[in-house]
């Protein structure tokens, strides 16, 4: 290859910048640095696994004294009384599962609906039709509008997750509770015989907590479900349309079943989030040691118990709280591992196609 003036100049520049070194094999110092850097990367990576082990061990070891003292009875005891040293977390376990499941129900319904709305690109379609009426749909600026609005909508839903949970708690405390209170008390007055409405809402309670919790897990469900729906091979949709299916016959009969594994994985992960969510619940659930199904009654969850009791706990109460933390850790680790596995399987399956 004939060397053009430019290459000669480039070579000259390189040589001037680092004369005589650029074409040499790595020096022994460089090889040592390389070896150390690689080891460092491996060590840091291994540290991530070690971190999980460390978290479990640290909390587990600190919980041992309480485990010795209270045994498994701790899991189904119903009192929490530091004065007489009687501890039980059945109401908290129940409250955690109850609020999380209710929030999951609400969050999944809205989250999956939003995922369908996003993956079907309804908004873009409508905007495109409007632009077409004005003959602007291939306009260099206006023509990009449908795509940009779709992106904006997706980002807005993701922003729901960006608002800190303590801010949602504040909003729930001063806006949501006063807003829903009259309706809840009316329901209690009219249908008080129904177990879900058996108490009135006198302030913080399960329903406002569930409401805020479902908002917080919705973006997780939407993001993962949307991914699952978008990665359904387009030929399946085309085949369904070709057979004469309407849009919703396609969605319900083809798209959702094909994406179901991914959606399920997302729902499980969101459940994990809901179980471990702390601040919104600590502020809204009422912090009452009560075993109840009523939506309007105050209750407590494991995470809220930790948040409220830890700062003021005495030396004797700390191991008990560590025991409660261990229970929460066990529940969330199992749920999260299950969710991560489901999603991994779903990804492997869609790659196999």
């Amino acid at each position: 290859m004939a060397s053009s003036p430019e290459t000669i100049r480039a070579q000259g520049e390189v040589a001037a910048w680092n004369p005589g070194q650029i074409w040499q094999p790595p020096s022994s110092a460089q090889r040592w640095i390389d070896r150390i850097f690689r080891r460092l990367c491996v060590a840091f990576a291994a540290l991530t696994i070690a971190l999980i082990a460390l978290l479990v061990i640290e909390i587990g070891v600190k919980a041992v004294p309480a485990f010795r003292e209270h045994g498994l009875g701790f899991l189904y005891g119903r009192t929490w009384d530091p004065n007489t040293a009687h501890y039980g977390i059945l109401p908290e376990i129940w409250g955690t599962l109850y609020t999380s499941l209710l929030a999951l129900f609400l969050g999944s319904a809205f989250g999956i609906a939003a995922a369908i709305f996003l993956s079907e690109a309804y908004l873009g379609e409508v905007v495109f039709k409007i632009l077409k009426k004005f003959d602007l749909h291939f306009h260099p600026i206006w023509g990009k509008l449908p795509e940009q609005l779709e992106l904006l909508l997706k980002n807005l839903i993701e922003l729901l997750a960006a608002v800190p949970s303590v801010v949602y708690g504040l909003w729930g405390l001063f806006v949501v509770i006063p807003l829903i209170r009259p309706a809840c008390n009316w329901l209690h007055a009219q249908f008080g015989w129904f177990p879900l409405f058996s108490t009135d809402l006198s302030g913080p309670g399960i329903l406002p907590a569930v409401f805020v919790l479902s908002i917080m897990i919705l973006p997780t469900i939407t993001a993962i479900s949307r991914n699952a729906l978008v990665s359904v091979p387009p030929k399946l949709r085309m085949a369904a349309y070709g057979l004469g299916a309407t849009r919703w016959e396609t969605i319900l009969g083809v798209l959702l079943p094909t994406a179901s594994r991914g959606i399920f994985g997302g729902v499980v992960l969101a459940f994990g989030r809901a179980l471990g969510e702390t601040m919104a619940l600590a502020m809204l659930v009422g912090n009452a040691n009560r075993l109840t199904v009523s939506l309007f009654s105050p209750a407590n969850t494991l995470a809220a118990l930790l948040a409220n009791s830890f700062p003021e706990a005495g030396a004797k109460e700390i191991p008990v709280l560590m025991y409660a933390a261990l229970v929460l850790l066990a529940i969330t680790l199992v749920v999260n591992m299950f969710g991560a596995l489901v999603l991994e399987r779903a990804a492997a399956k869609s790659e196999a196609k």
């Binding site: 991530t48 696994i49 809205f110 839903i157 303590v166 801010v167 992960l269 991560a340």
Partner: protein
């Protein structure tokens, strides 16, 4: 037929032109004769009616899901914006029943602890991401990836419990360091996973060219992969910072709270109980004093602006990556 040749002479000329016109139209738009409104939007046929109703329901539910976001933002601007003034950023929190005051120490505390957590996690997370992107499918890599995914869902309060057990009990007091370490546990998985995917997205030919020139893996990573993947990595860091800045639960009993600046005897001191915006909101929202509640709203506004701006900066980095 479709190439539009003139019709055979036997057919009357009139019919020929008609046929020709129909053909031309069909060639222009093969779906010209189909009435899509009738097919898709007919409310009298149960199948299409069902489809339309469900479409509207889904649209309505998406809209409803967005209402809380706007409601929160409106309330923050309305209730927090009224209180906003320069004094908020420079003064210390007021005692009960005292008027005025601010949360300068809480802003400083949040920045210090998030900065500390970032200093810990960025080297750890980015190098782990490098390892994951380079090692591919080895068993250790799969294990690390799985742990990182499990850690993303790790309850934030448990990070606080861990830091309490490991740092607060060991050092004998609540401190900014304990808070920073608790936050770093929550930041780590985000940084690992985003840097891995950012590095994996660097075109293979760049890496191969670098190795082909005789660079060691370290040189390849430091001079080719990391600079090219930088926007993606920065996105991950920004997202993690935004999340950490808003976290309350891990700080409740690691950094606790303080009504004073982060200092002892006039010297900057990281081993003190430290105020943070998030904990201030939590503490003040439960107080029966009007002034404190208003301060909580103002602090929430400041915190949300901080978090959203960090988020948007992160997203603008990721757009740069896409444009490359």
């Amino acid at each position: 037929m479709s190439d539009g040749k003139p019709a055979p002479a036997k057919v009357p000329s009139n019919a020929g032109t008609l046929l020709h016109r129909a053909e031309e139209e069909a060639a222009k738009d093969p779906l010209a004769g189909v009435d899509f409104r009738e097919l898709e939007l007919n409310l009298y046929k149960p199948r299409t009616m069902f489809s339309i109703i469900l479409s509207w329901i889904v649209a309505g539910m998406t809209l409803l899901a967005l209402i809380p976001l706007f409601a929160v933002l409106c309330m923050l601007i309305w209730r927090g914006g009224r209180k906003l003034s320069l004094a908020l950023f420079t003064q210390l929190p007021p005692a009960p029943l005292e008027q005025g005051g601010g949360f300068g120490n809480a802003i400083l505390g949040t920045l210090v602890m998030v900065g500390l957590a970032t200093l810990i996690t960025v080297p750890l997370g980015v190098l782990t991401g490098v390892y994951l992107a380079q090692a591919g499918d080895s068993r250790l890599a799969a294990g690390v990836r799985f742990s990182a995914k499990v850690l993303t869902g790790f309850p934030s309060i448990l990070a606080g419990v861990f830091a309490y057990g490991a740092i607060v009990l060991a050092t004998g007091g609540y401190s900014a360091v304990a808070g920073g370490i608790a936050l770093s546990i929550l930041m780590l998985p985000t940084i690992i996973l985003t840097s891995e995917s950012a590095i994996a997205m660097v075109p293979a030919k760049m890496k191969e060219a670098s190795i082909g020139l005789g660079a060691t893996s370290t040189q390849t990573v430091l001079m080719v992969l990391l600079p090219t993947a930088m926007p993606g990595i920065l996105t991950g860091v920004m997202l993690a910072v935004a999340r950490a800045a808003g976290e309350t639960a891990p700080l409740l009993f690691t950094a606790l709270f303080s009504n004073y600046w982060l200092a002892s005897n006039g010297h900057f001191d990281l081993m003190q109980p430290t105020a943070s915006l998030a904990v201030l909101i939590y503490n003040f929202s439960g107080m029966p004093f009007q002034n404190q509640v208003e301060l909580a709203w103002a602090a929430a506004l400041v915190l949300v602006v901080l978090v959203l701006v960090t988020n948007l900066i992160g997203q603008s980095f990721s757009r740069q990556q896409v444009q490359q």
